[in-house]
């Protein structure tokens, strides 16, 4: 039941927010998001971390004659993703407080509505429900980006929209095919999909259908070109939603709907996917080095990070999968923090060009500290969150293949290069015209950054809090994959 | 008094087939060649009735009345179509003082 409440509360709250005129909407939205977070903590308290199966489940027929049911529930991986969503959304809402967007009620209603879609993706245990939620999550972000975005927003968001829809079409086709393969009166239940006995030929092409859909969302090289443009043009809150949470939909999709459904297809193509992912790591990192727009730089770094996660989960060993899960959390936290800091800098200086910034540390000590910590998390310094994920992921990839591991490890070096270059350009050196009168963080901004920084250290110091939640679920999936 | 199906069966089925095929073809050719909307409309009716005839004949020969149900449906649809269609034609005529379909080519690229 709690899962259903978690799923529908944001949508309900969105309707409520829609009714509010003026800037009061943001406060109501923030309150609703906090309630959602509290609900998710309540769900956590009712969750049995020893159990690897689906819990807190709810299942009733939806389109009965077709065997499609409204089936939701959570295992450890879903729960972590839901927690990430409910943790980040209030912060994302809070981070927008200093902006006065036009039509605020619509803006915040869309954010909340999107939360329903995101949570729906993470808790859906029925293929068609998953597909439905997948698209539900896309619509609000399209409008947020297309209405409140930058100059090129129409062209860029249109491309993003068509790109992802194109991907999901493949997913739908694969789901329909799988659905028709289920015995008896067909069903789209996830466990029925896991039990299908498909031959390797079928698995092979279904693998590609599903992979393209998820790869576009993540995005994995070479399906990534929508991403830097979209991140750059969207309003910061949309960028945070996209990079912090929506990107995880793709990875989650792989873990839930790809690996256990077509294990033979995976073993057939894992090498190719790993190579693509690793190319993405090096490629994204190298391109990030010379980017001058801060948002674009983080966008490319995100391609590199996601490449590593993708590589890790396709190794199908426990370090890789667990690393992937924990890195999803870490990446969500770090990237939201970094985009927020860029937003802060942009709102004060009106530029995101590294070359026209500099010397900010002299005026803004607190900002430097927060920025530094998030950056260190991002470059995987030990005792911050990024390290745990990268360590496990690289270890997984290295166990899969030494060469892949070594090449993927370049992210450690290149990550340091582009991040430090950025930090130096923005924070160090002499003040520029734009940064002359830079003011330090306000209370509101600190309120966003402090929870993020706490999580950076929490995951860095006590990753087992989270690893132990996902461990049984990961083991469970691995048993299914290896049966 | 003979039953209607029996009467129908006094003529071989092939005759009905050829006859309705001929009617249908006339309808098609009419639709393709004529430019007056009303005539085109009549030709469409002709095609529908060709089908109706065939359905009735086959139903009688097979002793299965379900095909005849379709005939009623087709008649109902045809009646509805005439209502809407004639109304459209009348409106068209009022606007362009003609019922020539060649003139109605505004809906293009």
């Amino acid at each position: 039941m709690i899962t259903a409440i978690l799923l529908f509360w944001p949508a309900l709250a969105a309707l409520l927010v829609l009714l509010i005129k003026g800037q009061g909407a943001k406060k109501v939205a923030f309150g609703a998001a906090l309630v959602e977070f509290a609900l998710s903590l309540f769900a956590l308290s009712g969750f049995n971390a020893e159990n690897g199966g689906t819990q807190l489940a709810l299942n009733f027929p939806w389109i009965e004659s077709a065997g499609i049911s409204f089936s939701i529930g959570m295992d450890g991986i879903s729960l972590l993703m839901v927690l990430l969503t409910t943790f980040l959304v209030p912060l994302i809402v809070l981070s927008s407080f200093k902006h006065d967007y036009k039509n605020p009620n619509v803006f915040y209603a869309l954010i909340l509505f999107m939360q329903t879609g995101l949570i729906g993706v993470f808790v859906a245990m029925d293929a068609f429900l998953f597909y439905f939620m997948w698209e539900v999550a896309l619509i609000p972000i399209y409008f947020i980006a297309a209405v409140w975005g930058g100059e090129n927003r129409i062209k860029v968001t249109f491309k993003f929209f068509v790109y992802t829809i194109f991907g999901s079409l493949f997913m739908l086709a694969a789901f329909v095919y799988l659905y028709l393969q289920t015995p008896g009166t067909h069903t789209a239940d996830v466990n029925a999909f896991y039990q299908l006995a498909l031959d390797s030929g079928q698995q092979s092409w279904i693998f590609w259908f599903l992979f393209i859909a998820f790869a576009i969302k993540m995005p994995v090289f070479p399906f990534h070109t929508w991403q830097p443009d979209t991140y750059t043009e969207s309003p910061t809150q949309a960028t945070m939603l996209l990079s912090g949470i929506m990107l995880k939909m793709g990875i989650y999709g792989v873990i839930r709907w790809l690996l256990p459904v077509v294990p033979m297809g995976v073993s057939q193509w894992a090498d190719l996917v790993l190579i693509l992912s690793i190319i993405g790591i090096v490629y994204g990192s190298i391109i990030a080095i010379r980017q001058r727009d801060l948002k674009r730089l983080i966008a490319y770094s995100s391609i590199a990070h996601v490449g590593l996660i993708a590589a890790g989960i396709f190794t199908l060993n426990e370090q890789g999968l667990q690393g992937g899960v924990i890195q999803m959390l870490s990446h969500g936290i770090n990237v939201v923090g970094l985009f927020f800091i860029i937003d802060i800098i942009f709102s004060r200086t009106n530029t995101r060009e590294i070359t026209s910034l500099g010397g900010i540390t002299q005026n803004a000590k607190s900002l430097s500290i927060f920025f530094m910590i998030l950056l260190l998390g991002s470059v995987a310094l030990p005792l911050t969150n990024g390290f745990v994920g990268e360590f496990l992921l690289l270890s997984g990839v290295f166990q899969y293949n030494y060469i892949y591991g070594a090449v993927a490890g370049l992210t450690i070096i290149l990550g340091a290069v582009y991040m430090l270059r950025m930090f130096q350009g923005v924070m160090f050196g002499t003040k520029s015209e734009a940064t002359e009168g830079f003011t330090d963080l306000t209370l509101n901004e600190k309120a966003v950054l402090i929870p993020l920084v706490i999580m950076v250290f929490w995951i860095g110091l006590f990753p087992n809090t989270f690893l132990s939640i996902s461990e049984p679920a990961v083991m469970n999936l691995l048993t299914i994959i290896n049966r | 008094m003979n039953q209607i199906p029996e009467v129908i069966r006094t003529i071989p089925l092939e005759y009905y087939l050829f006859f309705s095929a001929a009617l249908f073809t006339i309808g098609v050719i009419g639709v393709l060649t004529r430019r007056n909307a009303i005539v085109i409309f009549m030709c469409i009716e002709l095609m529908l009735n060709a089908v109706n005839l065939l359905l009735t004949a086959v139903a009688s020969y097979r002793g299965d009345s379900s095909a005849q149900v379709f005939v009623f449906f087709i008649m109902a649809v045809a009646a509805a179509e005439v209502c809407v269609g004639l109304a459209i034609i009348v409106m068209t005529y009022r606007n362009i003082r003609s019922t020539d379909v060649q003139l109605l080519n505004y809906l293009k690229w």
């Binding site: 070109t225 426990e318 002299q362 290295f398 070096i413 087992n464 | 639709v31 379909v101």
Partner: protein, 654 residues
Amino acid sequence: MQEIVMPLNNQGMALLCLLVPILPLLGFILNGLGNRKLAKGLVSMIGCGTVLASFLISIYLFLDFTANGSRAYMVDYYNWISAGNMQIGFSFMIDQLTLLMMLMVTGIGFFIHLYSAGYMSHDENFGKFFSFINLFMFSMLLLVMGSNYVMMFVGWEGVGLCSYLLIGFWNKNTNYNNAAKKAFVMNRIGDLGFLLGIFLIFITFGSVSYPQVFAEAARYTGGIDSNIMIAITLLLFVGAMGKSAQLPLFTWLPDAMAGPTPVSALIHAATMVTAGIYMVLRSNVLYVLAPTSLEIIAIIGVATAVLAATIGLAQNDIKKVLAYSTVSQLGYMFLALGVMAFSSSIFHVLTHAFFKALLFLGAGSVIHAMSNEQDIRNMGGLRKYLPITFITFLIGTLAIAGIPPFAGFFSKDELLAHVWEHSKVLWGLGMLASFMTSFYMFRLVFLTFFGTFRGTESQRSHLHESPMSMTLPLIVLAILSTIGGFLGIPAVFGENMHVLQNYLAPIYGYAQVANAAAVAPLHIDHATEWMLMGISVAVAVVAAIIAYVMYVSKKTVPVAEGSKLSPLHNLIYNKYYIDELYDTIIVRPVMWMSSALHRFLDVIVVDGIVNGFGKLVMQSGRSLRYAQSGAIGFYIMVMVFSIVLILFLNFFIG
């Protein structure tokens, strides 16, 4: 057969062990948050006090350890990362080597903190400085105390971060920032090697915890010099190369002199850069299983030692000379590791920490007095103005040059004796480096403290001996540099006098099991030993005399910037153009690739294909729309013919 690492069940002791790194961390947090709010006196109290406390606790732990039969023990705090069969504990291992490093790090660290309180007193970011340097202490202590390779890696990266923060401490200056970035990135290259080494250890031995890995390695059945062992040891060594500035990753260390001088002394001379030696020493059991790797280490060590020494000959910046001498001395230490003189290596680490910290602090005192002048061409005659600095600096120089009875003599002599036993060629090269070391160090002393003052008048008027907080550490370190060598008295002066070697013997327990032949004690007869000692002293003295003749008698002063130099001199002066070489073959191509990949591959090729699909759809729509003529007759005709076609196909093909 070997020592067994016991888990520690004593809560109090566990807390004490934890306090050693946590106290500096506390200092970091307090000073970091209180930067500019706290008074300078309080900041330095916190900064120095926490380190002093750590030092005292370390002494207590050491005494307790020896009193309880020198049994190594593990202190487990909690399970840090666990994923499947990979279990990484947050835990410490206390053994002989750890304690030695702890004492060295906290001890020297404390004196350098004390020195900093005076040296940095005029800096506006006093609190920031102390918080960073305290964070460094924390990381360095984690590095040496960790009980598994991942914990070592934690400290390893942590010290790298602090090094980055402190090199770029004066972050308004772009050159300093670039130096900081270079240090971090070069270290990260090494770190990648280290990390891969850890993964390979995990795959091979199923654990990353020292006791388990070493016990497994001692039972290792793959034989000596198996590929996997060579791979592990070389990967770890790549990490050491980065951290300890060995060829080819040494160029960051001289640039790192951009940081404040106490940082150079603590991080870039005494402690952090010796982490690589600590790591190899810690993994001695793995290395004895891979003699080929050791051979490579020896060659790289000696090459670094010679190369850095030659560059040191021509430098004019007082800190750069010391930096190259550090690189060169680190090369020595790796040379010693390469010839399996493990104890000699750590002995040299220890003595080097004393005298190099002393030299850097002395240099700092000179720079302080000279109002931030670092060029020795503008110094001279300073012994009159800075007597304490002069004497202590001279002691440091005598120690590094290897003049008895100062500390460097004992460690260097022992080290070279092992090298002699191993290979005469390496020994010859080592001697060459030793000769150059002595020469450039005495050149530095003579140019700085002898002759006449060559600086400006305003500099002369400001010359003053440094305050007490700065001279006290100098004096303490000078005493240590004088007597430190007696920890390891060579066998010619009496059997079993080598305190350090006896103390450290247990840490080679596993290595002895794994490859007994490798760790056999040195067999060198006394006559040879006397001879080697004689040669090394003679070499040092001759070099000193040459330097004296050149720079004191003939009063030569290195030529000013921009004058014409002989080709060889030019080559050395410009550090063999190695930085330029790296710039050409690595930095520029990567930068070029970054732009090219973005502009060409990303925007044109990949995005081009994506947009191409879009354009294709648009284009086909554009041309196909003319079929939409609007003529109903045409539509119907197409429809009819299509139906006919479908029926036709259905009949005759389907």
